[in-house]
Symmetry: C2
Amino acid sequence: MNITADIELRDREEDYININPLQTAGRTTVEARKAILSYIDGYSVCDWCKGALCEMDKLPVKKFLDEVSAFLGMDASILTDGAREAKYAVLHAITSPGDSVVIDANKHYTTYVACERAGVKIYEVAGSSHPEYGINPDDYAKVFEQVKAETGALPKLAILTHVDGSYGNVVDAKAVGRICRDYKVPFLLNCAYSSGRMPINGRELYADFISSSGHKSWAAGGGNVGLLSISEGWKGKVFKVSGKYKVKPLEILGCSSRGSSTLALMASFPHVKERVKNWDKEVENARYVASELEKIGLVNLGVKPRQHDVNFFESEILYRISQTHKDKNFFLYKELKDRGIIGIKAGLTKNFKLSTYGKTQEQVKHLVWAFQDIVGKFGK
Amino acid sequence: MNITADIELRDREEDYININPLQTAGRTTVEARKAILSYIDGYSVCDWCKGALCEMDKLPVKKFLDEVSAFLGMDASILTDGAREAKYAVLHAITSPGDSVVIDANKHYTTYVACERAGVKIYEVAGSSHPEYGINPDDYAKVFEQVKAETGALPKLAILTHVDGSYGNVVDAKAVGRICRDYKVPFLLNCAYSSGRMPINGRELYADFISSSGHKSWAAGGGNVGLLSISEGWKGKVFKVSGKYKVKPLEILGCSSRGSSTLALMASFPHVKERVKNWDKEVENARYVASELEKIGLVNLGVKPRQHDVNFFESEILYRISQTHKDKNFFLYKELKDRGIIGIKAGLTKNFKLSTYGKTQEQVKHLVWAFQDIVGKFGK
């Protein structure tokens, strides 16, 4: 078997408008591409290492991390291999197997899996039902009380998905943070779909920990990289270093994302700092798409008014078309592709999500037109 | 501060003969570069995901991993973020805090840090003294007995650094494996400096687990990626999946290296499979450099005859030169750079390591000439 021959060259960013929520805010900048190309060879970030990735100064990793902390309103940051590894790092550092941890119903699966790996008992804050699937901050207090009643102790950690990747609901993190502060439960805010896209200030949200995804929301591209930012008091526990190798933080096994992804994250950072200022415009685009697609019969789920670039739709009309279209349930994928749009999972017609992050007004209008055209052509 | 402006474009592979042991066998192939470029945008490896990175078939990740297992003489493999993450995955999956684990004196620091993170008690097999720094396999049995005497139980895991990155000593892994088998102690062979460079058959070495480094030794380039390969009996424990998300292995938090590094690893694999067949030639080059540099007064450390591309040297003569050269201890770095060679840590003269992996005979001869020329010019 020739594996190389089986790797399809990928052209979706160059040839299409990509609306995959996983990818819109991870698209590389010119600067990131330059950095990746330049550092493409083996372990190249280590050229000037003096012992620890996050302390490097010749490549300005330390400076970058200090700026990230300021940017996120936190006190200290380290590089991780991604948001999931940041969450697990916190879990592993401050909980023990058997402890209780509270998460939310809209969590990314990795929050759950990280908890399982840490061996903790998982309590879940339920979401509201269809069509909103919202998280009510006050429910955190209720679940804290439940944990206390059932186990005799408050949970060791509360995790909130700031914005989930399905409905794009922005939860009132400050309200959850205040409850955590009141109960003295450490608060981890998973910002995989928020930091890097929209302005975040962890201090104002009472966050003890923030996990961020470089490849998902910081324009760092296709190598996985993330960030773990913490408030001052947690340094000793969460950034604890090896007893023998005094510069090596245990929870990232010394150095985490020791490659070009880190350079890409750094190279895109000036752009990221600027782009979060345009958040209003991103929300406006998302609302425009939601309202236009509702006009042609799609139903936009999630909490209204929309506050995020990720939109979830239910669509009876597209499902109905799929019943008679020659391409069956793959018709939407194909018809959109024919119109230069990609990123909705192939095979979906009844339920799907999309993101307009970083798209121009012209692209957003084209997207709306594409749906109108498809429904107009096949939906009689 | 403009972080982007502070990222120096890197040219050491293009403009120099790079002899940094960390980097020689990680240098990208043309195919890897093509894959990285093509998959450079956010989370691009997930385009065709059906739920789990290691099971992907449209991008032939699963096929690739099956071939890797065959290539390494193991039964199953998954992708990790690197060799250190593979070692921690095994430690976390099969030990509990307080358990005993045996490692070797020539371990990479991450072996120690992974043990610390897992909370295990570390016992170390001592190495022989200067100039060999060898690991005697029989000492594993002695330390097992010591652990048993002190704790009442055998260790839960033994880790051996197959080849260390300082002296390039190739340990008789089969002998260690046989001892582990006799004592029924699970055996993790860290192949960060061996698999991908030289032929490995885990089954013949009695290895239960093999950790590999994609960016270090599999020509996968600058994004970190690794491999964890296991023997059949360990699937349930080490590749255990989430109770809720049935395709997501806990120890890699569902999906590990979810980016272009994985594509690069796959794209370079046909080349890697071929290049290990030239191992004799690599060893020959290393021996040639060692013997030629000894002729001009350097001392080659490690077990003789050399069996690996990494060579460690002690040099009184170069140290003596540094005492009077205008560039002081940076002279060797600068003089080599002037002769088109890079990769020995700036500032070192008395002790340093280098690797000739993948170099042509012409490059190896040039390297020897450069040292001869420097010693000839300044060493009077």
